[in-house]
Structures are given as structure tokens and as C-alpha cells.
Symmetry: C2
């Protein structure tokens, strides 16, 4: 096959590529980073580059305007090399740093009565061994086992080859005094021997805190809490975007990316870098060493868990949508690739199904759902819209595949809830002029989820659009117009914005948003119907997920995203996933309860459920085709 020379307009040296090579691969091969939020499917348009010399063959130009195409723009993931070519790489949109205050709670309360001696399976003990003599030639390992049995009540203990290799040195360096850290009881193998995690010479190490971390791997954000296992106190909370974001914004894009070439290894490395960087940051705050962390509990959705461990995830994406494994055995820090103690116990919390993962089982525990008598609706308000209905006696769950609309995906001017995002909007019913509030108080760059909910509610209420989501283009108003993508409403004029372009919401955006809210509401309906409990009789709604924190309940009810209930029944809980991991980190009993609840949760696969399609269709209206389900909204319309 012919080889071609590809040159770039930046400092990157030219590279060669064969006919037929994807331009995105050529660019990554030249060691440039290319954002591919959709995982290289040609859907997001973020990998656009300009061909300034030579020719490439382009399969798709979705998301590129006619002008862009005329100017030579192509999607790098959809264009293949045909000749020598010169490529201009536009500066790519950088993901803004998170506002850490959005993600870190002020202080986490230690569970009442926490007693590490009862709850904690990781234990540290100091031992004084009798030195060997000519009359007592017991081998080092048995000498240690005897001391563990006699001085610390450990029956049988296992060590790794690496630990045995260093054993003689440690015992003698400490002059037969040692500090041992052990995992006394493996959650996945009760009755199995205790496992030696660490052995240090002398007794001085016993004065250090016993460190553990709780980690939530979100598709968007990774959160890590550093915990003193002896007091139970969270000593540092840190969060950062998941480094995988540039390789796909949603779980499906990530699974697709993982299936390509070296994609799985790359995604694994990206999230490991994120976690290890967070670990480092957290440790620096309290002058600890990452290698002193001896216990890890990880939560996250099933795709995140598979990608972290480089487990094949294709089957999650393809019918009949099964995971490789829901309940992962205990691993060691070294195996996972964490910079903790190499033998740290790593416990990945169990999931239920492809789209109801450990983040949900952790949330079911930490939200208190499994302790309450009250019939409760628990929602992780994100892309997958995982929902659990139940109480301490029964639990049903589903994922309703809402899509990323409320996180700004598939919405022309959508963005995440970071600095520069419009987060709240009001529309004057007479003038149709909007007022808005921007995160960080700066000029706006786009619309985040809460603004989109508010816009839908306000546009519907003021008649800017009808209950079916169609913008009333017959109204003669400068903000209501027909743009490149059809009818649209202008939220901010170019001279008000950070990028000097109008910020709009289009009919296509609205359609996506209505489909998303309909999917979530239909999920609720199906769960309620399946167990024969009217949705209205749910006594409380617990909302988890960081996205949940921005929702204005009134407006979410107005558009039919949340069920119509008294506001006091709604509780926003923030990151219930990391909190569940934290509880499991402290208490093996909590860990056992998560596993037991995962085992008894009834999972309902909506894509195989006819009632879901009916419920979804009925919900494609603001708030709903059956207005009797939304009495407060009905009352407001009548008044």
C-alpha cells in the first residue's frame, strides 16, 4: 500500500501514513491529543480538523456546517488518508477545571458509635517475637505465625511470595519486633485465612494513622476520600474530571473506544492516572504517603468498573446487555495499578446489571433506602437515569438511558455545570425576555442541565413553545427565529456572551430534552407499575448524583421530569456513591449489606419491556399526556 507524508501546521514533525488510515489515528500517532467525546463515532464533531493540502476521503460530515466543509474541515475520526496531505489542527476546547466546592462536602459525619475493633477488617498489630536460638530453630514464617496467633489471635494467615522474600530482613532489622497490618476477614471468602498486607520492622509504624480510601469513578468525575480507618474521619476530599472524558463523554462511547486497537489499555491508564493523581493530592494534604494506604473501596457504574480493570466491556453495549462480572473478587493495589500499598485490599463494590452498577448499590446503602419502611424512589440523575424503588423489604431497579441531554450533550449550546454555564433562567411572560444567572458570575458560554430544565418550564409556561415542545415561530419576537437547525429561542445575544456568539435553544435541543425527561419518568412509571404501587404513593424521593444538586424541583415537576409531590418529600443527597464506598470502607457489615441488597434487587430491563415504550410515549409532553398525574401543575395552569 502506498505511504503518504502528512504534515501539520504546528510544531509536530511530519509523519507517514498508508492509504486508508484514519486521520484521527494519524494525529494520535503523531503524539497529539484529539478530543473524541463520542469515542470516534462521528457524532460529536469535536475532532474537526482542516485539510489545507492534499486530499482525504470523508465518510461523514455530521455536525459540520456547509461552510465548514467548504473551508476544508473534516471529522478526523471519519476521514481516511488518500495522498500526501497538510493538516491544520484547530485549538481544541479545553475542559474547564471543576469548581471543587461543587463536589466536596464540608465535613463528613463519622457513623455514630464507629468502633474499628468491631467494624474494621483491616487491623494493625505490634508483635515481639522470641529470637531463634539453637534450641528453637523454627523458621521465620512460623515464628511470625505463632506470634500472630498468640499475641493477636489470628488463626491462619496468608502471605504473598514477595512478602516471604522480604520476611527474614524485616524480622532482623526490627530485632524481632514488628508491626503487621492484616486483612482479617475477606468479604468474598469468609473463613479464608487472614491476609498479610504489610510488615514493618519495629513498633514505630504503629503510631501512624491506618489509611484507607473510598473512590467513586463517575463517567464524568472521579471523587476520592482519604480516611483514617481508626477514627473513621474523612481527612481529605478531592475530585477531578475522569481522564477518559476526552475519549468519549458517555459510557457507550467509552465502550466503543475500548474496542479499538489499544483503546482499552489507554482508557485504563487514563482513569488510573486520575485516581493516582487524586490519591497523591489527598495524601499531600495530610502528609501521608500513598503507599501507606492499605484499604481501598471503589464504587462506580459497571462500565467504569470494567474499564478500570481492563475487563472486556463489549457485551454491555450489545443485546442482551450483560456484564462480564458484577461482583469482582478482592484484588490487591498492585494488580489494579494503584499507587497505594502494593498489597492493599481493593474491594470493588458489586453491581446489579450492565446499567445498574456499584454506584447504585452504594447509593442504596448510603441514602438509607435499605433502612427505611417508607416506600422510596431513589434516582441517580445522570445519563443512565438509574432508578430504584423500594424500602427495607423490597427493591426494584431499572436504568432508563436518558442520554446526556441534561448534562449538555446533544444540545447545541449545552455544557456541564462549570464556570460560564447559565444555571438558572426566567422568562418574562409578557416581554418574552429572559433573565439568567451564570456560574462564577462571568459572561456565559452555554447552558447547563438546571438551565435547560428551567428553560423548558419557562418556555412552556409563557407559551414561547407549546406543550409538545414546538417553538411558536408565528410569534413576532427577535428572540424567536429560525436558524440553521430550525426554530430556536435566543437566551443570550452574542454581545453578552464570552465567545461573542448567540446562545440559543433549538427545537432539536428541546426534542432531545423531552425525550430524556420522558425516559426518566417512564422508568419511574414502569417500576411502580411492576410492583403494583402507584408512583404517587412513594413517600420520599432521594436524588443522588452531582447533577442532582442543581435541579430546581418546582421546575423539574413542571416539565414532568420528577413526579408531582410535596417539595419536602424531595431530598438531594449529593454523591451517594462515594458515601456508600466510605461506609463499606469503614465497616465490613456495611459491605455485606451492599452485597445482600445487590443480590435481592430485581432488575427490570426496559428495552425488553413493552410497557416502557407506552409510558415513554405518554411522557413526551409537558408535563405529561395524563395531566391528572401532575395535579399541582394542572392547578397552576388552571389558575
Amino acid at each position: 500500500m502506498a505511504e503518504h507524508i502528512i504534515t501539520f501546521d504546528n510544531d509536530t514533525p511530519p509523519v507517514t501514513a498508508q492509504t486508508g488510515t484514519l486521520l484521527s489515528e494519524v494525529i494520535q500517532g503523531a503524539a497529539m491529543t484529539l478530543n473524541q467525546p463520542c469515542g470516534g463515532q462521528g457524532r460529536c464533531g469535536r475532532c474537526a480538523v482542516r485539510v489545507t493540502g492534499g486530499t482525504v476521503r470523508s465518510r461523514s460530515t455530521l455536525r459540520l456546517s456547509a461552510e465548514d466543509v467548504a473551508a476544508g474541515y473534516v471529522l478526523a475520526c471519519q476521514a481516511v488518508v488518500e495522498s500526501d496531505a497538510a493538516i491544520s489542527i484547530p485549538p481544541q476546547e479545553k475542559i474547564e477545571r471543576l469548581l471543587t466546592t461543587d463536589l466536596v462536602s464540608a465535613e463528613v459525619e463519622v457513623p455514630a458509635g464507629y468502633d474499628p475493633r468491631k467494624a474494621q477488617n483491616v487491623r494493625r498489630v505490634t508483635l515481639t517475637l522470641p529470637p531463634p536460638t539453637m534450641d528453637d530453630q523454627t523458621d521465620d514464617w512460623n515464628r511470625l505465625l505463632t506470634a500472630l496467633r498468640q499475641q493477636a489471635d489470628f488463626g491462619t494467615v496468608q502471605a504473598s511470595l514477595e512478602q516471604i522474600q522480604g520476611l527474614g530482613g524485616v524480622l532482623r532489622e526490627g530485632d524481632w519486633q514488628v508491626t503487621a497490618t492484616l486483612d482479617a476477614e475477606r468479604w468474598d471468602c469468609p473463613g479464608c485465612p487472614a491476609r498479610l498486607i504489610d510488615l514493618k520492622p519495629g513498633h514505630t509504624a504503629s503510631e501512624m494513622p491506618l489509611w484507607g480510601i473510598a473512590v467513586d469513578i463517575g463517567t464524568t468525575t472521579v471523587t476520592l476520600w482519604l480516611v483514617d480507618l481508626l477514627t473513621g474521619k474523612v481527612m481529605a476530599q478531592v475530585a477531578e474530571y475522569n481522564g477518559q472524558i476526552a475519549r468519549g463523554e458517555d459510557v457507550i462511547s467509552r465502550v466503543i473506544y475500548a474496542g479499538k486497537n489499544n483503546g482499552a489499555a489507554e482508557l485504563r491508564d487514563l482513569v488510573l492516572t486520575t485516581i493516582n493523581t487524586l490519591l497523591d493530592t489527598a495524601c499531600k494534604r495530610v502528609q501521608a504517603q500513598p503507599a501507606d494506604v492499605v484499604k481501598v473501596v471503589i464504587s462506580g457504574n459497571s462500565v467504569m468498573m470494567h474499564l478500570l480493570l481492563n475487563i472486556r466491556a463489549d457485551s454491555i453495549r450489545l443485546s442482551p446487555f450483560v456484564t462480564a462480572i458484577n461482583d469482582i473478587p478482592t484484588l490487591a493495589g498492585r494488580e489494579v495499578g494503584l499507587n497505594t500499598h502494593p498489597a492493599a485490599t481493593v474491594d470493588c463494590l458489586p453491581g446489579v446489571a450492565s446499567y445498574v452498577g456499584a454506584d447504585i448499590t452504594a447509593g442504596v446503602l448510603s441514602s438509607g433506602l435499605i433502612d427505611t419502611e417508607a416506600v422510596t424512589l431513589f434516582i441517580d440523575m445522570g445519563t443512565n437515569g438509574e432508578t430504584v424503588l423500594g424500602n427495607r423489604d423490597w427493591l426494584v431497579t431499572c436504568a432508563c438511558s436518558a442520554g446526556p441531554a441534561f448534562e449538555g450533550g446533544g444540545v447545541l449550546d449545552g455544557m456541564r455545570a462549570t464556570k460560564g454555564a447559565i444555571e438558572e433562567v426566567w422568562i418574562n411572560g409578557t416581554t418574552f425576555e429572559p433573565t439568567f444567572r451564570v456560574i462564577g458570575g462571568v459572561k456565559p458560554r452555554g447552558l447547563c442541565g438546571s438551565a435547560l430544565i428551567a428553560l423548558l418550564a419557562e418556555m412552556s409556561l409563557t407559551g414561547v413553545m407549546d406543550k409538545g415542545g414546538h417553538i411558536n415561530t408565528h410569534r413576532d419576537h427577535p428572540r424567536i427565529r429560525t436558524g440553521e437547525h430550525g426554530p430556536e429561542y435566543v437566551v443570550a445575544w452574542a454581545n453578552e456572551t464570552a465567545h461573542n456568539r448567540d446562545i440559543v435553544i433549538t427545537n432539536v435541543d428541546i426534542d432531545n430534552l423531552i425525550r430524556a425527561k420522558a425516559a426518566i419518568y417512564a422508568g419511574f412509571s414502569v417500576l411502580a407499575e411492576r410492583v403494583g404501587v402507584p408512583l404517587e404513593t412513594a413517600e420520599q424521593v432521594l436524588i443522588g448524583g452531582s447533577f442532582g444538586k442543581y435541579i430546581n424541583v418546582e421546575k423539574a415537576v413542571e416539565i414532568g421530569l420528577l413526579p408531582d409531590m410535596p417539595w419536602e418529600n424531595f431530598h438531594f443527597l449529593g454523591n451517594t456513591s462515594v458515601r456508600g464506598a466510605y461506609l463499606a470502607l469503614l465497616d465490613r457489615e456495611a459491605r455485606a449489606r451492599i452485597q445482600a441488597s445487590a443480590a435481592r434487587m430485581t432488575y427490570i430491563e426496559l428495552s425488553a419491556d413493552n410497557t416502557f415504550y407506552d409510558a415513554f410515549t405518554s411522557a413526551l409532553f409537558l408535563p405529561h399526556t395524563d395531566l391528572s398525574r401532575f395535579p399541582s401543575v394542572q392547578a397552576a395552569i388552571v389558575s
Copy 2:
């Protein structure tokens, strides 16, 4: 520090070295191989090199003659660089290839009634899984577990992360048919979950033999048997010198070498190369792949076991002589560094003490000692002279540190029992002229153990030397003379030998041999005395170790090496260590019996035992100071 340039008289390019660097390190740093049988202690004289330019400072010239020193010879391990120097490397003595017939039995009998379904803990099963559907979204791992439970009766099963990573692919590639290999019952953790070793798509793999290997790591020789675990048949037997020999001939030299710089890693690599090469050779004979071997049982003395696993062995050498570990947990092929299946079960048999290792516990099983009512003396006739006295009810053991004299070490013309070694000698009582037999029927190069035993007996019997081991130099005979090392007897004249030098035995050699035989016999005496059983009442003597095969019992009794008993009471068993490993490979019950016997063996540390010194001193005479212990010899002398 000053840097000097060291040049060589062969193709090796010059290297630089700082003042004070050991010449042996300089030479190895220049990528030349230097024999150091004594581990670099300046004892063996094998690393002699000639300094032809510049100067080096030499700490010791032991084993070099005055002429050698005058000619510029130094011991590389005892000489340090002081200036630029030119070094001449003499061609070093190569270790001859083993005569494989010496080491490989014709055919090994499979234990009567061997039934892998009862005895074998490694099992292979074929499974047919129901494919997932929208109504059955069980994760892959649980689907496999259910099939293992329902179709093969496995309760709980553990897999490694690597196996889980590949799980989805294997299940789908085989269209939900798989062949699984499992370790059903871990000897070191009864009640623990079964462990998945291998999972292959389809049912075709089930037609292959289930391969296992039994390995004996001798200080000198490594022996490997490739076994079909379903029939129990040994399908290939191979043996080769332990690659560590060039770094020390005995265990103490190896431990010393392991303590230097990168010594431990080097020794580990050397023995691994030996084992993996043997594995390859054995597999080629039966058209198997090393990666198909799923179970390994390893035997060997405690030092060999520590060095194989890179476990610190210093404490074995230093008082109070303790091992790091006697009973090593189950390992995987990958951890050990074997080219078997990476997840193969590797079971290292348990030892008892620093100088009574797994080779002895394996021998106690395979020799039948633990099954017999008869009081039995079991000897591994090698450097360490490990001895066990007992029967099925009681066992006492010791190691008597005989030294390598009977293996040719510390004997001027000593060598191992390979081609060119004189293996049998007779001396005419009138003419004092010897007759001898040479292994391989070639011109002789030296004397092996059986020849040394015969020489001692014949020289004593004919009066060439007295019962105290002193050569009668007053006899006027050309073969009796005083050489550079004192009095000596010429066994072969230069014109008869392969290297055109006289082959002699010196008074120093004889002294070493008498000390060795005295140590072994004193060991027997102490064991007998300790349990209050006269040595003479032992009903049989079982002799293991490949060295044992060459001994002439009559002559060994004549010199007082073996106790005086009817010849029919002596049984030569060959390599009892590999045979014990083979039995443990086949049968978990045999494995359990080895462990139980190791646990109940009473170890007697001779270096802490005053009676040993007395017994040793009494035995420094041919056959013994107390002639009443050797009635048959007494009778022969009288007659």
C-alpha cells in the same frame, strides 16, 4: 577514585575499573563467565587468571602453587585492581554433560489403583452454558459459576483478574461451550474456594492429556518428570546440571554468592533457565506445550527452594541456622517464573529445617519409610548427609555436613561421576599396583566418589596407609611419594590419563574423606543414641541420592562409612526426592502425608550436640576406633 583500563587476551573489549574492584567482578562485568564453584571465597582455585601486565593486589593464593604465583597467576575472586592491567583468561574446565542414563530410570511404575477422580486435585471439565438472553442477563462470571456448580459440582470458585479480563471473549468464542481446568482443593487451605487455572473455548481441549511435572532441584542436578495426570504415567524424564553450579558447588557457597550484589537474582535466573530448558526438552519429546502444564510439584533442599523463589537465605548459613520458611504456600507458575501455564498450581514440598529440606521429606514418603514397621535408616548420601531414623510411628533426623569430599570436592583429583572418572579401584596387596575402571571406558581424568571409597578401603587393607589415614611413606614404591601437598599415592600415571598428568590421592585428600565419612557415621550414631535404639538393630538401610547409586557397600562398610550389616539390608533407591514429588503430584493424600511427616519429624541440630563431637572423633579411624561396631571388618582383618 582512580579508574583503570583492564585488557584481556581474548576477543573481549577492554573495560574500566576503579581501584579496589575485585578482578572477578571486572571479568564478569566484561560479560565473561568465570567458574566460581566455591562462590568466590578463594577456596576452590577455579577462578585462577594470569596477570600479564600491570599489578593487582592479591589477598589469598590458596590452591595456587608457588610456580603458578611466580607465573603471575592470581585468584580472580581474591585480587583487586590497583592499576591498568592486562589479564590472560585460561580456558576453564567445562562441566561435562551428564550421562543421562545415570539419572533417568527406565520406566516408573504408576502407583497401583491410581484413580485421578479420587486422588487428583486438578480437574478438567467441559461445560455447556445457556447463552444470555433479554430474560436472563446474568453476568458472564456468574453464568460460568452456575455451570460449574450444576454441571461439575464445584461450590465456590476463584479466578484471577487476568482470567476475568479474558472471560467474555472465551465464552463467546466457544459459543458458550468451554473446557475449564481447576484446582479443586488447595493443600494449604482446605475449605478455600476452588481455583480456576485455565478456561478454553469449546470442548476440544478436553481431549489433550492433563500435564503435570515433578521437579527435584538438586544442588548439582535438576531432574524433571513430565506426567500425564489422567493415567499417572511418566511420559518423559530429563535431567541436567543445575545452572547455578558455576556460582558455587555446595549450598553454603551458593548462599554466600546470593548475598553479593545481584547474586540472588542471578542464581534464581540460572536455576529457572535450567528448569525451563528441561521442561521444553521433555515437552518436545511428547509433542506437548510447556504452557499446557497445569500442575507442578517441586522438591529440593531448603537452600535450593529459597534460591528458586529468591527468598533471603543468609539465616540458613549463620547460627542459629534457621530458614525463612519451611512450608511455602501454593504459588502460580507465573509467580515462580516457570514457562508452564501461568496459573499452574505450583506446590513446593515442605522441609523440616535449614539442612533437612523437602528432598528428605519427599524421600521419606517415596522410600516407604513412613509405611514400614521396621526400624529403618534413610540416608541421602550427599554433601549434607541428611539422615532419618525411624518407622511409621516415629522419625528423627539430622544433617551431618559431610562436605563435598565424596563428590570430588576438596580432593585434588576429585571429580563427579561422569565420563572420564575412575569409578572403581583395586590395589594388589603385594605389588601395590592398582587396577581401575573408568566411566565411559576412556582415559581417566580424575576420581569420583565410589573410587575414593574404594581407594580408602584398598589402601587401608593393603597397608598403603594406616588405619588413621596416613600414607606409609617409608615404603619404597614409585607410586608412594611426597608431592607438593605432602605424601601421595599415584593412581594413574600421566601417560595413562586424558590430561597427561598423574592422578594421585594425597594425605590431605584422605584426611578430608575420613572427616566426611566420620561425620556421616557420627550422624547415624547420634540419632540412634537419641532414641535409645542401637544402630545395629536397624532392620534396613535405604540409600537415596544419585551419589548413592555408585557406592560399593562392602567397601563403604570397610571404611566405616555405612554401618556393618548384612548386604541384603541395604537398598539403593536412586532419586527418592523426584519420586516423592511425583507421588505428591498424583495424589493429594500423598501430599498430605508428606506434610504430616514433616511436622512430626524430630530434628536434631548436631552443631549444638556434644555427643556428636565425641561420635565424630571416634569415627576418625578406619573403620572406627571401636572395632566391635564393625564385626565383619574385624573378622576380615583377623582372617
